[in-house]
C-alpha cells in the first residue's frame, strides 16, 4: 500500500482513452498490485485439483501441462454443452459498448480489457476460431485468434480482475453476464492449475476443516465464548450460544469472516444478542461453520462440494429450517444454486418465524431465510424493543452488496431494518445503490493484500459515492450485509474517504436492541461511549 500514490493523484492518472495498439497485440503485464498470488500446491492437493506446483505469474514458464491446448479445447467444448448461458453469450454480443463504463475496475483503472465487452472477447476470440465456421474461414477478420500461452496469461490476468458483480449484465440489452463469462474462464484456467491462493486456500480449508479460515471446531467455540464475554461486559447479560445441538428448530449459518475479524465480529455479536433476546431455539454448527463459498469463484463442482455441508448438517441435526447471516456471495449460492445442486431439502419444513408466525413462503423450497428478512419481520410485528437513539452518534448510509442486489433483489429488507434502528440514514446517489450498486472492488475472492492497488481502483466508484454523502450529510458509517465488504471496505474508506467506518446491519440492530434484564449500557459493541455517555 505504501507504494500507492495519494488518492487524488491516482484518480487524476486514470485515462479512459484506449491505446493505439489493437488489444490483441497488447500482452498482459504482471506488475505488483494488479494480480493475485498463485495457489499453494498443498491446497490443490487437498482438493484433488490438477497440476499442483510452484509457479509465479511474472515467470515466463507457467509450467502448464503438456497438452494444455487440448485440455482447454475439450473443457470449452464441455462447457458450451453444459451452459446455454456461455453459448448464447459467446454468440450474441453486438459490441454496442453499453457495458463499457459500467465496470468498477474499468472506471478505476481505464484498462480497456476491463470493459466487460473486452473481457468477454478474450474468450470469444478463441471460441470463434475453434467453434464457429466463420472464425475458421475468415480467421482474424472475424475477430478470432490462436490460443497461445499469452492468451492464457491474459485470461489469468483479467478473469482475476473481475469480481463477478453482474453490474454490466444489468445494462446489457441481451443480459450477457460477465460473471458467467468469468466463472467459465476461471473453470478453464483451473483445468490447467492456474488459480489464486486467496481463493484456493479458503476452498481447501472449508472442505477440510469446515470454514474458509480453517478455524477448527474447538477454536470456533472459544471465539464465540470470547465474544459472549464481551457481550456480558457491555450488557450484563450472559449468553451461551448452542453449537452442534440436535433437535434445534433452526440452524444458523454465517460466513466465517463474521467471527474472525473486526468489524465483522460486532455483527456476529449482534446475531447472538438478537437470538438470545428472542429465546430462539437455534444452533450453530462447527461442521457447517461457513456460509460463504469460495467454490463459487472456482468451479461449479467446487461450489457444490462446499455447499453440500449445509443441507447435510441440517439433516443430521434435524432442524426445521435454516437461517443465514449477512454475506454477499453466500446468498448468491443459496438463492441461485443450493437447492438445484444439493436439494431437494424436503426433510425440512417451510420456514416459519416462531415469534411472529410469519411463513416465509418465498423460501418454501430452499428452506433458508436471510437474516434481514427475519429481522424485518420481527420489527414489523413489533417484537423487538428498540432504542434507535443509541445509534445517534452515527450517520449511516447503506452499501448494497452485489450478490444480494443483483442475484436476489434483497433491497428493502436491510433498509427497513436500518431505518428502524438508526435515526440518521442517508442514501447514496441512485446510480450507485440497489440494483445499480457498485462492488467494493474486492469481491469474488480478490480481497487479498497483494491485489490492493486494483482493489482500491475498483472500489473507487463505491468510495466516491460514500464521499458524496460524507461531504453532504456528514455520513460516518457505511453499513452493509456482506462479510467481504466488512473486510474490504475499511481500507477502501481509509484511502478514499477517511472518517467513515464500516458496520454490518446486525451490529446496528444489537446496539439499538433493549434486552430484558440488561444493565444500563455505557458503550456500543465497539466499546465506544454511547451518545450522552461520553466522558
Amino acid at each position: 500500500m505504501s507504494k500507492l500514490p495519494a488518492a487524488d493523484t491516482l484518480a487524476a492518472s486514470i485515462e479512459y482513452t484506449p491505446p493505439r495498439t489493437p488489444w490483441m497485440e497488447v500482452p498482459a503485464e504482471f506488475r505488483p498490485g494488479v494480480y493475485s498470488y498463485p495457489a499453494n500446491p498443498k491446497n490443490l492437493k487437498i482438493l484433488d485439483f490438477p497440476n499442483p506446483r510452484q509457479w509465479a505469474p511474472e515467470d515466463d514458464d507457467w509450467k502448464l501441462p503438456e497438452n494444455w491446448q487440448e485440455i482447454i479445447y475439450e473443457g470449452f467444448q464441455e462447457r458450451l454443452h453444459k451452459y446455454r448461458s456461455l453459448k448464447v453469450f459467446m454468440d450474441v454480443c453486438v459490441r454496442c459498448g453499453a457495458c463499457a463504463d459500467k465496470c468498477h475496475y474499468f472506471i478505476g483503472s481505464g484498462d480497456p480489457k476491463n470493459m466487460p465487452v473486452l473481457r468477454a472477447e478474450l474468450l470469444r476470440s478463441v471460441y470463434r476460431r475453434d467453434f464457429t465456421m466463420v472464425g475458421k474461414i475468415l480467421k482474424s477478420l472475424s475477430g478470432s485468434r490462436e490460443l497461445t500461452v499469452d492468451v492464457i496469461k491474459e485470461w489469468f490476468m483479467y478473469f482475476y480482475q473481475c469480481s463477478e458483480c453482474r453490474r454490466c449484465s444489468l445494462f446489457c440489452p441481451y443480459g450477457i453476464d460477465t460473471a458467467e463469462i468469468t466463472m467459465m474462464g476461471r473453470e478453464l484456467l483451473n483445468l490447467l492449475g492456474l488459480n489464486i491462493n486467496w481463493i484456493m486456500e479458503p476452498v481447501a480449508n472449508c472442505f477440510k476443516v469446515g470454514n474458509h479460515l480453517g478455524i477448527p471446531p474447538h477454536t470456533f467455540k472459544d471465539i464465540v465464548e470470547f465474544m459472549c464475554e464481551d457481550i456480558e461486559d457491555i450488557t450484563g447479560i450472559k449468553i451461551d450460544p448452542p453449537m452442534n445441538k440436535k433437535g434445534a428448530e433452526i440452524l444458523f449459518v454465517t460466513p466465517s469472516g463474521d467471527y474472525f475479524a473486526d468489524p465483522g465480529t460486532y455483527t456476529f455479536m449482534g446475531y447472538l444478542m438478537l437470538f438470545h433476546e428472542l429465546g430462539l431455539d437455534y444452533t450453530m454448527s462447527a461442521y457447517a461453520s461457513e456460509g460463504g463459498n469460495f467454490g463459487l469463484f472456482t468451479s461449479a463442482e467446487a461450489m457444490k462440494r462446499l455447499n453440500a455441508k449445509i443441507y447435510a448438517e441440517a439433516k443430521r441435526l434435524g432442524v426445521k429450517w435454516i437461517l443465514g447471516g449477512e454475506c454477499g456471495h453466500m446468498w448468491r449460492v443459496i438463492n441461485q444454486y443450493m437447492d438445484t445442486m444439493n436439494g431437494p431439502a424436503d426433510f425440512m419444513d417451510v420456514p416459519r418465524n416462531p415469534l411472529t408466525g410469519t411463513v416465509f413462503s418465498n423460501a418454501r423450497s430452499t428452506k433458508m431465510v436471510h437474516i434481514t428478512e427475519f429481522t424485518a419481520d420481527l420489527i414489523k410485528n413489533k417484537i423487538l424493543n428498540l432504542d434507535p437513539g443509541r445509534n445517534d452518534h452515527l450517520k449511516v448510509t447503506y452499501h448494497d452488496s452485489c450478490n444480494p442486489a443483483r442475484a436476489m433483489g434483497l433491497l428493502e429488507e436491510p433498509r427497513y431494518v436500518i431505518q428502524n434502528v438508526c435515526n440518521n440514514f442517508y442514501e447514496m446517489p441512485e446510480q450507485t445503490i440497489r440494483e445499480q450498486t457498485f462492488c467494493c472492488g474486492s469481491g469474488s475472492g480478490l480481497n487479498n493484500e497483494e491485489f490492493m492497488e486494483m482493489r482500491l481502483r475498483g472500489g473507487m466508484p463505491r468510495a466516491n459515492a460514500v464521499k458524496h454523502v460524507h461531504e453532504k450529510y456528514g455520513v460516518n458509517m457505511l453499513s452493509c450485509i456482506c462479510a467481504i465488504d466488512r473486510a474490504a471496505l475499511p481500507p477502501l474508506m481509509q484511502y478514499w474517504v477517511p472518517g467513515v467506518d464500516v458496520t454490518g446491519v446486525h451490529e446496528l440492530v444489537a446496539n439499538a436492541l433493549v434486552m430484558r434484564g440488561e444493565k444500563e449500557r455505557e458503550t456500543d459493541l465497539r466499546g465506544e461511549p454511547l451518545p450522552g455517555k461520553e466522558g
Binding site: 465456421m133 441481451y174 438445484t340
Partner: protein, 330 residues
Amino acid sequence: MNVLYSLLLVLALVVIPLIGAGALGWHTLFGVIIPVFAVLVFVAGFIYRVMDWGRSAVPFRIPTTGGQQQTLSWIKPSKLDNPTTTAGTVGRMALEILLFRSLFRNTRTQLTQGPKLSYGSSKWLWLGAIAFHYSFFIILARHMRFFTEPVPLPFEWLDKLDGILQIGVPTLYMTEFVILAALAYLFLRRVVVPQLRYISLPADYFPLFLILAIVISGVLMRYFIRTDIMDIKTLTMGLATLNFTVPENIGVIFYIHVFLVAALLVYFPMSKLMHSGGVFLSPTRNLANNNRMKRHINPWNHPVKTHPYEEWEDEYREQLKEAGLPVEKE
C-alpha cells in the same frame, strides 16, 4: 482498417450483380436462384442456430435481478424487473425485446477533478437502436405488398402511415430517413467514441454497411433510377408463389438491391445479427427469480466428492469432546 475491409466487401457485393445481372444479363440467377437460395440458407441457418442453443443445458436459474424480490407480504416486489411468475417473466422479456428496457437504463460515467464520478443519463444509444430496429421492421413489413395479392389491409395501412407526410411523388417514406439517420449514428459512434473504435470488429462494420447499401439501393430505385414496379411485382409474386417468372425490363438496380438482401440473409445466421434469436434464450432474462420457491433441475447434476460429517468427526473427535461439543460416536 476494419472499416475499410468492411466497406470494400460491401462494394464488392454491389459490383457482383452489376456485372452478373447488368453486363452479363444473368437475370434468372440474380432474380430467382440466388434469392431463393438465400432465403433457404437464412431459414435453415436461423433454425439451426436457435436449436443449437436449445441443445445446451440450463443448469441453474440465474436471472439478473433488477428490483426488489418477492418476500414479506408488506414489501412491494418489482414484478417486472425481478419476476417470480411466468407472467412477470414474459412481461420482462416483452419490455426487453419490444422496448430495449436494459439499454434504456444506460448511463454515462464521467470522472472529473476531485475526484468526482458522475453518472449522467444517456439515452442516445437506446434511441438509435429503437429507431433502427423499428424502421427496419416497418420497411420489411411494407415490402410484404410485393409478395401478396391482394395486399392484406395491415400492410396497406402501414404503407399509408409511413408515407403520411405526403411529400413528393412517389410519396417519401419517413422510415427511410429514420433508418438512414439511425445507421449513420450507429456507424459514427463506432468510429468517434475511442472505446467503441477499440472494440469494433469488421463484423460490426460490415452489417452496418450492408444494410446501408440495401437502403440506399432501395431509395435509388424508388426515387431516382426508376424501374417498372409492375414487372418487379410479377417477379416477386413469382418468388412468393414458387411460380418463377423473370420479366425482361427490370433495371439492374433491382438486382443489386436483391443481391444485397440475399447477402444479408446468408450472412445473418452466422453473425452477431443472431442476437435477434439469442435475446429470447438469455438465461439472465428469461428465467424467474423463484429459486427459493421452486427447485430448478440441473440435467447434469453429477455427484461430487464431499467431506461428510462422519469423516470430519473422526478427524476432530478429541477436540470436539474436549470443547464439550456433542459427538455421534464416543
